[in-house]
Amino acid sequence: MGLFKLTIHELRDKLNTREITSEELVNEFFNRIEATDEYIKSFLLLDKENAIKEAKNIDERRVNGEKLGDLAGIPVAIKDNISTEGLKTTCGSKILSNYTAPYDATVIKNLKEAGAIIVGKTNLDEFAMGSSTENSAFHTTRNPWDLERVPGGSSGGSAAAVAAYQAPFSLGSETGGSVRQPAAFCGVVGLKPTYGLISRYGLVAFASSLDQIGPFTRDVEDCAIVMNTLASHDKLDSTSVEIEKVDYTKNLKKDIKGLKIGVPKEYMGEGISEDVRENIKNVIETFKTLGAEVEEMSLPYSEYGLETYYILAPSEASSNLARFDGVRYGNRAENYNSVEELFTKTRSEGFGEEVKRRIMMGTYCLSSGYYDAYYKKAQKVRTLIKEDFDKAFDEYDVIISPTTPSTAFKIGEKSDNPLDMYASDVLTVAVNIAGIPAISIPCGTSKGLPVGLQIIGKSFDESKILNVAYNIEQKLNFNETPEIGGVK
């Protein structure tokens, strides 16, 4: 039937007119997962039985004439660092391989109330630390466009699941680009919302001043629909912001005549591959035909984004990951003679190399005598990076750039050298450091691999970003699809 290729808004219409049932839909997606996941390996866990049960429940409510929302009966895949009651939540780590979340994250609660059907939990780099999903303790997820390439990371499983038509949408999380980078590599839409817009309650913490949950969807309209359900003030997250509820679909389709767009020269220069740059140049010309004004500008402190990030994020992580000690949850080492040994052996056996490196980095940067030179220094540069954006948004409505410096790289290509791996986030980290929102949408392909366009806005201006993204998406009409195991 090919239902799996449809968007949320198309499926919603079919459900509303009773052309299909949610049960049929859920079955269709599980068939698709069965046919493709041996190649892609997006999932760490599937929950078919419960999904079918929930789908039947939604169908019954619909038959009874209940008025249901946009996501009612629509399947969704969840990154495995977001807590789901009664389901394993492993964070892609050996240390949590047997951990079952005793409660739902607020985003999960919101999705369930909206009637969305959770089909399973997706693969990620361990504790969301990585850019390729190769750091998962369980397996490497593959890019649906080329099985020899990475899907990006850390939310690689969630991005690949949407790209491979295994779910119409999914949730990921960002600390330095972990939604936008895999969205770009997999040719789907990924949004990093403003810090504080979506509750972090139940998202296993990596770097608390940077973390934010974000959706993957097939198109921009779907992204707006999902954001309507995800964005909410939450008393359980003290950093969640109290603002008036916005309907993100409301201004989506307005034209963008007279829009002022800035293109930072630092994001188009050295280190950006020629094919990516060509794609973005084409997008700039297309924006002009829509009546937008596009100008080159500068974000001078972005040059220090990665260095700042690789002090701040590990520092916060070293503190957050102190809780994994084999006492209250997670696996415990078998042989120990003291509490001290229990902690050390549990953590040394349970964490992978990259997680250890970041805990060590953070501990080093925060340790006595080094705090001012590293952590405090980075927080000061953070101010300068943020001020760059503040100034830019006095002049421009949005800023655009490539999402990543290249298209998806090969599995194993960067896994041996941490600095090579970190460099794939060079165009995304500054946004997290400043706490502002940005979206990545597919804007073309190069040698059969998708290229991502990044659109950055000022804090809480998601409506504007989505409006701009929608306009360029409609005009570019990106409609290439990956072929998996010989099947389109």
């Binding site: 102190a322 006492v327 209250r328 509490v339 050390t344 964490f351 060590m360 501990t363 943020k386």
Partner: protein
Amino acid sequence: MSITKEQIKHVAKLSRLEFDEESIEVFTEKFSSVIDYVEKLREVDTEGVKPTYHPHPSIRNVMREDEVKESLDREEVMKNAPENENGYVKIPKVLD
């Protein structure tokens, strides 16, 4: 190389991690490369710049009333504890 093996051992102790002699060489090398990399921040003039600890400076500390409310089910929560007894998590003896 800016970081020595001895320093790594010290930071590992603070982090409650340990490395065997074989892996510590490679680890030290990669760790040093990352530290050398972030050293680039030293060239930024931050004289008089205030640190940003939080992206939205308008956020104030959020307080709530100290009320008794329903919490997570103890039995459910204890299912995740590697060892537990009588509703408590169990660890080796701390004091003699």
